[in-house]
Symmetry: C2
Subunit: 151 residues, 2 copies
């Protein structure tokens, strides 16, 4: 049997598999998180995350190639760059918040969450829930049914 390799994932029909092909490498999602939370420079990310510079360099390139980060110069002489999240990356924020809520319930810890998500208007903490746009009903493993797709 021909085995599947990690590098074959981008060509999968399954969206979860394609998401993993971009964000499923070690550290990648944490780097994206930092850029989304406003940390955008190589050394700043490296200092906060404390991963090896080599890995950070590699992951930033891959996120750029996949259209999740944009390299923008912020000074000349010498030219230095910041890594800015694109719209695709910003659109991942709600997924990350849903993930955060999941971990707060199922992977609890004594340490406090380093970030809070606040509503821009009310300035109150937000409490995420996934709903179905069509019915307005909350999506849970009870409310939905997963079916093999035959198109």
């Amino acid at each position: 049997m021909k085995l599947m390799k990690w590098t074959d994932l981008p060509n999968e029909g399954c969206s979860v598999a394609r998401t993993m092909s971009v964000l499923g490498d070690r550290w990648t999602l944490l780097i994206l998180r930092d850029t989304l939370f406003g940390i955008r420079r190589f050394d700043d990310i490296q200092k906060r995350l404390k991963i090896t510079r080599h890995l950070l360099s590699d992951r930033l390139k891959r996120l750029e190639n996949h259209g999740l980060l944009e390299r923008k110069p912020y000074q000349e002489r010498p030219t230095r760059y910041e890594y800015h999240p694109t719209q695709a990356a910003r659109d991942f924020v709600p997924v990350m918040q849903a993930m955060t809520a999941w971990a707060q319930t199922h992977l609890p810890t004594e340490k406090s969450e380093p970030y809070r998500f606040l509503d821009r208007e009310t300035r109150q903490p937000t409490d995420p829930k996934v709903i179905d746009v069509n019915t307005g009903v909350e999506i849970t493993s009870q409310s939905i049914w997963v079916e093999a797709n035959r198109d």
Copy 2:
């Protein structure tokens, strides 16, 4: 500077980091996906996913240790086990669906999605959106504000 290792992640305060410590290894989320979609036996998962058996063995153990899978015997002589998702795993389904929707927009492909999420009542495809329970407003990178937490 003391570098952080991948194995330090479970002790992080950040929920995204803790989620990655459990689901951020190669193949892990895809294995969980298969069990959630009803594929529960070692060989069945291996045949569908086509990963090496020893990786599958390793990941199943880790998912079990983290409380996402439960090993249940389904026959005697010889005793064989199925891997059943726990409530913690089932609660990840909405996150996965949000992720799927994200990838369909931002990592498009010609291949069709192998699975569909349907409403159990209406039998219609569901269309996920993350909202704030408090305000009912959709959570987007525009609607929220991320703030460092000082507790």
